[in-house]
Each structure stands twice: as C-alpha cells, then as structure tokens.
Amino acid sequence: MKIQQQCFATVFCALAFLSLAAPGPSLANEQAQPAQVAAAIQVAGARGLVPSRYLELNLQELMDIEITTAAKKARKLSDSSAAAYVLTEDDIRRSGATSIMDALRLVPGVEVAAINRHTYAITIRGFNDRFANKLLVLIDGRSVYTPLFAGTYWDVQDTVLEDIERIEVVRGPGGTLWGANAVNGVINIITKRAQDTQGTLISALGGNEEQGTFVVRHGAKIGDNAYMRVYAKSLEREGFEGPTVPIGDDQWRNVRGGGRLDWEASETDSLTVQGEYYDGQSFARQVEPTLSAPFTTGRFRAETDFAGGNILGRWKHLLGGGEQTELQVYYDRVDRQANNFNQYRNTIDIAFQHDLPIGDNSELIWGLGYRYVNDQHSNSIVFTLTPPDDTVNVFSAFIQDETSLLDDRLVLTLGSKFEQTDYTGFEAQPTARFLFKPADRHTIWGAVSRAVRSPSRVENDIEIFSRVLPTNALAPGVPPSPAAVLLRGNRDVDSEELLALELGYRPQLSDTVSLDIAGFYNDYDTLRAVVQRSSFEADPRLGIAIVADATNKMEGEGYGGELSADWVPSQRTQFRLGYSFLRLNLRLDPSVTVASIDEGFEDASPRNRAFMRGLFQLSADLELNATLRWVDGFSVNGTRVASYFTGDLRLGWLPVDGLEIALVGRNLTENEHFEFGESAFASGQATPVERSGYLMVTWER
C-alpha cells in the first residue's frame, strides 16, 4: 500500500511540475504558427492563391473532420437583452467540476456555497440559503425547483456531465418566459441531442473526497434519423472528518440511469423523449428538540433517502417562414424521506409555444401552460404540514414580441407572463427590454421587469418545531416552563414582488478581448418575514410555545453589478475573469417590533466575489486549467463565514484519440474553509470544504 501511495504522489507531483516547466520551448515553437498563417493570408488577399488545408479536401473528407465545440458561437450572447452567460461543454470539462453545482462556480454572478458535501446554497443576486427561493432551475425544460420550499434540492440534480451541451444562466428576472420563481435568475441546463452522443463513453473518477464516480453511456442510431442514448452513473462522496467539525457525517451516494431518444420524424417534425430514474442517500447532522429534561436541542445523524424519476416528451413542428410550434409534456416523481419527514410529489406539466414572425421585423412568441402538483407528506416531530396532502393547479400564459428597428441596431422586446394559481390567484409579470448597437462591437441593453415569487407549500402550511428553550430563557413574569419555538406558515401569505431595473454594456474591445458589464437595481416588496408573536401560546408538549408566523412584512432593495471579461490571446490560451458586487438592504414593517431571521439575508451574501480562469493548451495532447476564486466574508444566521481565497488546477492528457486522463486538485491554497453556515431553516450542520484531489479517466469511441 505504501508503494502505491508514493507512486500516486510522485506521479502527481511530476505532472504538476512538468506542466509548469513544459510550456517554455515547446509553446514557443507552436506559437510561431499563427504568425505564419496571418502573414500568408495577407498574400492571399493580394493574389488569391493560398493553399488552405481544408479547401483542398473533398466533401467526403470534410465530413470526417471532427469539430470541437466552438465556444465562441455557443457563447454568442451579444444579441441578448439580458444579463446572460453560457457555460459550454468545454468550460465544464476543463474546470474539473464533478457536479453541476461546482460547474456553476464559474459563472459570474452565481453564488455557489457548499453547506456540506451534498447540500448547497445557490442563488443569484442575493438571498442565499439552503432553501434559496428566488432562482429557477431547469434541466432540459423541466423545472427542478420544489414547490415545497420554492428552492432546489441540489443533491439530486445531476446527470452525466459529459452529456451537458451547455448551461445558460440568466441573471435578473426571467419571469416573462419562465414564470414564477424566476425572480433573481434562471439556470437552464441543456443536454446534448442523442445524435451528438453516439458511441460509447466510460469514465471513472476517484480521489480523497470523491470516493468514486462511474459513468457508462452508449449512443446508437436506431432508424432513419432516429438516435438514442442510455446511461448510468454512480457517485459517492466521503464525509468530512477533521478537527474543525469532529463529526461530519455528511456522506453522499447517488445512482442514476436514463436515456434519450431524438427522432427527426420528417423535415418539419422532431420528437424528443427522455427519462431518468435516480436513487441515493445523504447524511447530515441535524438538530432536533428534546422533549425531556434538560430540554435542549440535540444533534444527531439524519439519513435522507431520495429517489425519483421523470419522463419528458417534446414535439417541435416547423410551419415554414420561421413559424414553429412546440409542445412539451413531462411527468416528475419525487420521493424523499428525511428524518421521519417523508414527502412524495407528482408533477405533470404541459407547455405549448408558438413562434410567429410578423412582417419583416417582428416576431411574436406566445404560449400556454398547465401544471398539476400533487403531494403527500408524513409529518415528523420537527415538521408538520397541514394538510399533509395537497393538490395545486397552475395555469399560465405568456406573450412576447420582439421588434427590430433601425436596420437591427435597435431591438425592442415587450412581453408578459400571466399565472393563475390556487394559492395566490392571478399574477402578471411584464417586462420591457431594449438592445441597442450604437456601433459595431458595442451593445447596450436595458430592461424594466416585474417578477413574483409565489409562496411555497412550507410558507402556507408548515409548522417547524425549531428548538426548545429551557425555563431560564423565558421572560420574567411567565410561569417557569420549557418552551417550544414554532415557525408557522399560513395561507394569508402573499407573493413576493420585485421590480427590477437593469442596464448592460458589452463592448468587444479588440479581436481578443470582450467585456460584459451588467448593473441592476432591485426593488422588493412584500418579502417573506417570519415574525415572532408578542404573546405565548399553550403547547401540549411543553406547556408553552413561542410562535413566529410567516408574513409579508419586509421590503428592501438590492443593487450591484457583474463584470465578466474574456481574453483569448490565441486558440491555445484563454483567460476569463468574473467579478460581482452586491448590496442588499432589507427593512421590516414598522409595526414589527421584534427581530426576524429573514432580515439576516441582508448579510447572507458576500459583497464581493471574483474569479480568474486560465485555460492553456500546453501541447497537442496536454491541457491545463487553473482557477483562482476569492469570496468576501459574510454572515449566515449570525455566524460569520470568513473571506476565502482558493484555487483549482486541472491537468488533462489526451494520449490517444478517445482517451483522456485528468488530474485535478481543488481548493489547493488552504487545508479547509467554510463556504456557508447552518441556515435557520434546518439545513443540517455545515462542514468545511477541504483541499482535495482526484484522478479521472474517460474513454470514448
């Protein structure tokens, strides 16, 4: 065993340092090449006699050339009147991310914080929490946010990362097209079509924290213009062990399998059917009140068992002249059993969309949607939902027009989403946007939008027995008795509202440098605030209860901006920079005289965050990715999370066609650091993120 250890260490060190030493002479040679090309082209312009290696090829040969994804094209967002960013397949692979959550760290403006190995707090433009509720996450058009708390259970959101074509992130309200909950942003994860994942892929990954991730995927042609793929993936992460948190207990296991079928049934019709099933477990140290002396709040190892699946069908029909319709239907099943609180949820969602060009300069998109959600819960000592079973119907419609003026230098977008829910009634979410190109390579855009977040099932119906206060904690004059602290939802809770102003500028400074700057001012109203009652209530368990109710008695503003810069000095070298700034000011209604935990969101996001990425093609078969990340300090539920600065390195070696060996080191600058704290709403104990490393082998043919 000792020999193996030494061997691994030696290989790692050798590779790490070789990679630093290597670039000198070999790169210098290869960099001479573009210079020759550039010179040759000038000659071509003059004489028109240049040999181009591709131009001499015949069609058959051209069809055999492998095209690596053109990041530039996939990233082409200069025509979007929103703060949008695209993470490409190449970005994800070269980052060394082992989960969707980790990949999102590379998107400017997305706050990603691991609470423990499997539970993440992810948001955009503030209000971060394990139960962050102002972000909509979609995987292939399927909404994965849970209506239980209007957030995302990140521990079940996974897929074969190699099959992700791109992750589109829109910062700011996306309510017009996407609907409620796209208040502060939308994350849209899009997997590849089956025709783009033909052949077999096998990958294995293991390290000190990653205990083994195995992927098998196979794609095949099954008929005329019909392709399919099937896949299976398993992952396991080791729990935290260390002096900072003596008992980490945050292991994570997940197994999933699924498939996708893409069929271009005719020139005008294409059909996609995809489905997935997953099953796994995660652990966390949770708190639970003790009902006997000494009446404190204990901590114990809680196991969460989750399983679920979904099946989705999409039919796209081209009508000619740019007109098209799309119909999408999916069914999603979630089964999650945690700490005696069990939930089962069935969702059926139907969406129809029609794109209709009007005249020469205008395009109308409209759509209709219906969602049916049926849930069943079994209550625990900590969580009680009343009623335990419920059904919600959501009807929605949207319409949006995009008109180009002044030879396409000005594009105006007007639209609105309309939603009718059982809980809050009718909601409209309009937006008005412009995009202006005053000159080539300069784009200015701006938007005014209204967005709403409908209350979640928890805010309507829950009672959380959050902790027990021993007698001595009570106010004088009250009979001595232990007291239960209860957080209670109610059906009078209304939607949270946002009016957002955004402005952005995207200059292409040169052929190699581009910038994207976005600023926003968010005016929030009727925000949720859990407010403590002034009087006590009788409690059958302990005698007395201190009750805090969900209200809408908070308002506030958020403002800030994000900057991203790309510098691509050559095809072998790319640098990316991301910086974001955020301030939130939250105020409780003057009628509220006690503190509310929701005010804490003001400090729950770092004010400044920055990252820098360098992607280097060291030689034909060796690539290096280095990332530096800096996050400002902030507070979660009264606990300070210190500022941290860390870095990741990934060295990828492609010795033969189809084989890739990657060595990855993460969080290399420190032994460990916390990225978030334990939230007020039962997130489980927070554990630090450690320095870690893994080796990954991928084989594809």
């Binding site: 193996q4 691994f8 790490a16 990679s19 630093l20 790169l27 960099q31 573009p34 210079a35 010179a39 082209i41 071509a44 004489r47 240049v50 181009s52 591709y54 131009l55 090829l57 069609l59 051209l62 069809m63 095209i67 690596t68 094209k73 025709q195 033909q198 052949g199 293991g206 390290g207 000190n208 083994g212 080791e238 020139e267 002249g321 740019g322 098209q324 060009p357 009007i358 395009e363 995009e402 008109t403 180009s404 030879d407 190699t512 000095p569 050559s570 095809q571 070298t573 290096l624 990332t627 530096l628 390195l649 080191g665 290399l668 420190e670 032994n671 320095r691 490393g693 893994y694 080796l695």
Partner: protein
C-alpha cells in the same frame, strides 16, 4: 478499477495535506502566470476550425451546383460568394474564399449586412440570430437565383436551401431541393447522395 478506493483516498489525502498552503498557492498562481504566453499580435484571429471547415463546404457547394442558364452574363463572370447578415467566418477566411476557381470562374467574396436585388450574389451564406432578422434576410433572398447556405435551424425553417449542421462532432448538411427548384438551382447527384437529408 483505476486505483483502489481506500488507497487513492488516503494517498491523495496525505499528499494534499503535506503541501503547505503557501506552496499550493504558488502552484496555482504560477500556473496562471507562468503559462501565459507572450502576447504577440500575430496570434490574433486564428479562425475556429468549425468555420474553416464550413468555408471549405461553402466552396465545395459552388462546384456541385448548377444555376439556370442566363444567370451568368458571360463565361468569365466571377462567381459571387456572399456572407449575408452576421459574419461568423472572420477576415482570415475571407481571404481564403476569395480568388479561387469554381466552374472555371474566379470566386468573388462579398460581405453584406443586407442583401439587395442588385448585389450580384450567386451563393449566400446567411447567418443571423433566430428571430425576425433571419426571417427578413431570407425573405429578401426569396425568388432570386441565389443558392442559400446556412447553419441554423431558423435558416432551414425559413426555406434555406443547404443547411450545415454538426452532428456528433462531424459536419453534415441537409438540402432543400424544393426551395432550390423554385428558382431553377439544381444539385449534382453526388452532393445529394452525401446529404444527411434531402427535402423534395
């Protein structure tokens, strides 16, 4: 199995803990700074391989397509390749496409934001974001004896004649002989046989 689970875990763990923070920090920083190449302006604008290949396809199409009689005023009139709308090729590729021979004619390259009836295009590569602009560009080319080539779904939906697409990392193309037939453009049978799909 790559590396035994237990072994890999402990081995890597010990290694990483042995690296002192300062050293690790240096590695990361150094990796970013040391490998950054000396900025020479000659490296600028090396075209994407995708568009190098697509440019080659565009040139090849010129050789496998026949325009109706009378399209060219003379036997020596150059064949005009036009890039219409956005230009995904970039300058280096312009030089590659211009001044070559196809059908015994010299190729001429034009970059047009908008097509006009007197632009003289014989082949138009149409590129624009999905939306009204694409629809308008295609509308302006409609009814003209111009072979339209594009690489987006919106292009095909608007009656584009040859659509390039990437499937499983390889370039493929669909041909709409109906659209082409309306203006008398015909395709060589070899080209048709290589198409992923032919719409009649």
């Amino acid at each position: 199995m790559l590396i035994g689970r237990q072994h890999s875990s402990r081995c890597a763990g010990r290694l990483f803990f042995r690296l002192r923070p300062a050293v690790a920090s240096m590695i990361v920083t150094c990796a970013m700074l040391c490998t950054s190449p000396p900025p020479t302006h000659a490296q600028v604008g090396e075209p994407d391989i995708e568009y190098q290949v697509k440019a080659a396809f565009l040139y090849n199409f010129a050789k496998f397509v026949a325009w109706p009689d009378g399209t060219f005023a003379s036997k020596t009139e150059p064949l005009a390749l036009c890039i219409v709308g956005d230009d995904p090729f970039g300058e280096p590729l312009h030089a590659v496409l211009a001044g070559r021979k196809a059908h015994g004619r010299l190729t001429l390259l034009k970059i047009l934001e908008e097509p006009t009836n007197d632009d003289g295009c014989h082949i138009a590569f149409v590129s624009a974001p999905d939306g009204p602009r694409m629809a308008r560009l295609m509308q302006r080319l409609k009814g003209r004896t111009v072979l339209t080539v594009g690489d987006s779904e919106a292009f095909a939906a608007n009656g584009g004649m040859v659509r390039l697409l990437i499937e499983n990392k390889k370039t493929r193309f669909d041909i709409n002989t109906h659209s082409a037939g309306l203006v008398g453009i015909t395709f060589n049978s070899q080209l048709l046989s290589l198409a992923r799909r032919v719409r009649e």
